[in-house]
């Protein structure tokens, strides 16, 4: 009873949120030319057209593939690097400026480099996603590694656990919340910069289509793509991330 009630109230809240949003949108769109701010019907119409267009699945697949590849690469490389920096001060001191540089260079500049190195290929977008996502994951893991409780490490050391065991049994669980928020950010930004990269160094994918639509002043398509991306992200959040998080952190003291 309790939970079903809560779910109902949640659905209601969400419904209200969406309704308010649509209303505002519809009102604003009515007062602006549609190529500046297309109204909901127009965008849904464009959305429909999009989904049924011949290249839709191809573009979606291309972008998703690139984002996922870049993200997975970033995770595989950023996590161990973050752990390494967290465990060695000398290493950290040496790499700190590199990280600051990585965090300053805009994705457009990475895209320019990527095109030089990889030409027009999937690798260009993957590289840009990687260069954006990797520092995010690395930074968070590193920060998490610095907060691992000395007491717990000493506990593991008292049982003569190997460095690897300490990593797996103490550091990783402690870092997990940090990693999680880093990965979430990295994925979000990976999505976004993939679009930037695709406008420069790809001949398909969502970014390419978005740019095309923008250049043609087809605002309804721009909004339709944006809507699609938001929907996908919400799905990922509600379908994968939230449940996973709830399960992983079930041991946390619920605040009274």
């Amino acid at each position: 009873m309790e939970t079903s009630k809560r779910i109902l109230s949640l659905l209601l809240q969400r419904g209200v949120l969406i309704a308010v949003f649509l209303l505002l949108w519809w009102y604003a769109a009515g007062r602006l030319p549609s190529f500046v701010l297309p109204g909901p019907e127009r965008v849904f119409y464009a959305f429909n057209g999009l989904v049924h267009s011949a290249t839709f699945l191809h573009d979606l697949g291309a972008t998703m593939g690139r984002v996922f590849s870049g993200f997975v690469l970033a995770t595989l490389i950023g996590t161990p690097l973050g752990l390494a920096l967290g465990s060695s001060r000398a290493l950290a001191r040496f790499f700190e400026p590199i990280l600051a540089v990585l965090n300053t260079v805009s994705s457009a500049i990475w895209a320019i480099f990527a095109i030089i190195w990889f030409g027009i290929s999937d690798a260009t977008t993957i590289f840009v996603v990687f260069m954006t996502a990797m520092p995010l994951i690395l930074t968070n893991v590193w920060q998490g590694a610095q907060t691992v409780e000395r007491q717990f490490i000493d506990l593991a050391r008292s049982f003569r656990m190997s460095r690897w065991q300490i990593l797996v049994k103490i550091s990783l669980p402690s870092i997990l919340p940090y990693f999680f928020s880093g990965a979430r950010l990295a994925f979000g930004f990976g999505w976004r910069v993939s679009l930037v990269a695709e406008t420069l160094g790809a001949s398909d994918g969502i970014g390419y289509r978005l740019r095309q639509a923008a250049d043609l002043v087809q605002s309804d398509q721009v909004f339709a793509w944006t809507l699609l991306l938001v929907a996908l992200m919400l799905l990922l959040e509600a379908g994968v991330l939230k449940p996973l998080e709830r399960w992983l952190f079930r041991w946390k003291t619920p605040s009274r």
Partner: protein, 305 residues
């Protein structure tokens, strides 16, 4: 003096002309109190026009103007200002000798959907039977296209003449043809296609055509002055656009090929034909309404000579 807010794209072909217009006072001499707004994006002037933050734009992208108008935004064209000064090129050592050999090849050009891309597709299809599925279009801005050529990422490209001249030392290319020639062949006329036009808020041109006429006169003055004073134009470009001298000279060398203030019947005819081509390619939607072309100011400007 009448206040007119004028916007233009400052990082593309309209930069040189705009800089000169802004630093000389031809507009003031024609009784126009101009306020300039700079846009780093080619389509931004159209958005600004629609949002009412500027009154008038020159060098506005043609495809953008057509589709904006088709959306019902009250804008009108008062002159053609930028001819498509674009060339088909291949790397110097390429085995490709003529345009019909581009079938099945990768061709770099402004992103799909830009005026340049549509014109290029139209002439390739019309003159050589190379349909849009017979080649693959690689999109990018000028520097990206030049890079792709060097890296052999593309087999050929449609590049602006000014880019080719600017990168002459490092980018060795072979010319296969120009938009002007190919358009002539395609349309059997003497006109050149345009990529940029002057667009104006419909309210302004309907109520005060004489204001627009005076702007047109000033634009014309600027064009003539620039042609006559290339060295001064070079120094203006150097100071206001951060251009190195070499690049500035290249720009000035292309002055007449890049800039125009024309709205004769044959120009309007060309624009209509371009609309047809754009519409056929699916690039823009909607019918062309003749009232889009506001000819009255141009005619009035003739009197202001």
């Amino acid at each position: 003096a009448e206040k007119v807010r004028i916007g233009y794209w400052t990082s593309g072909v309209s930069l040189g002309y705009g800089s000169v217009l802004e630093s000389k006072d031809f507009l003031a001499e024609r009784g126009i109190d101009a306020e300039f707004v700079h846009f780093p994006d080619v389509n931004a002037p159209m958005r600004a026009l629609a949002a009412g933050s500027i009154d008038l734009a020159f060098g506005a992208p043609l495809a953008g103007v057509f589709s904006t108008a088709a959306e019902g935004v009250p804008v009108k064209i008062f002159a053609a200002t930028q001819p498509a000064d674009v060339q088909f090129v291949v790397p110097e050592d390429s085995s490709i000798e003529s345009l019909d050999e581009l079938r099945g090849k990768k061709i770099g050009m402004s992103p799909a959907g830009s005026s340049v891309a549509v014109i290029a597709s139209a002439v390739l299809a019309g003159n050589y039977g190379i349909g849009s599925n017979d080649f693959s279009l690689v999109g990018g801005n000028e520097s990206r296209l030049a890079q792709f050529l060097v890296q052999k990422q593309v087999d050929g490209a449609a590049l602006r003449s000014v880019t080719i001249a600017q990168l002459g030392d490092e980018l060795k290319v072979k010319r296969l043809g120009s938009f002007a020639e190919e358009w002539r062949k395609l349309t059997d006329s003497d006109s050149v296609p345009y990529i940029g036009v002057g667009a104006v808020n419909a309210g302004l041109v309907d109520e005060h055509p004489e204001t627009v006429a005076r702007v047109i006169a000033a634009l014309r003055d600027t064009l003539a002055w620039g042609e006559a004073h290339p060295d001064e134009v070079v120094s203006i470009l150097q100071s206001s656009a951060n251009l190195p001298e070499h690049d500035a000279r290249v720009y000035v060398g292309q002055w007449n090929a890049m800039n125009r203030v024309a709205f004769e019947p044959e120009d309007i005819e060309t624009l209509k034909r371009q609309h047809q081509v754009f519409a056929d390619s699916g690039l823009i939607r909607g019918e062309l309404d003749d009232s889009l072309f506001a000819t009255q100011p141009y005619a009035q400007a003739e009197q202001l000579r």
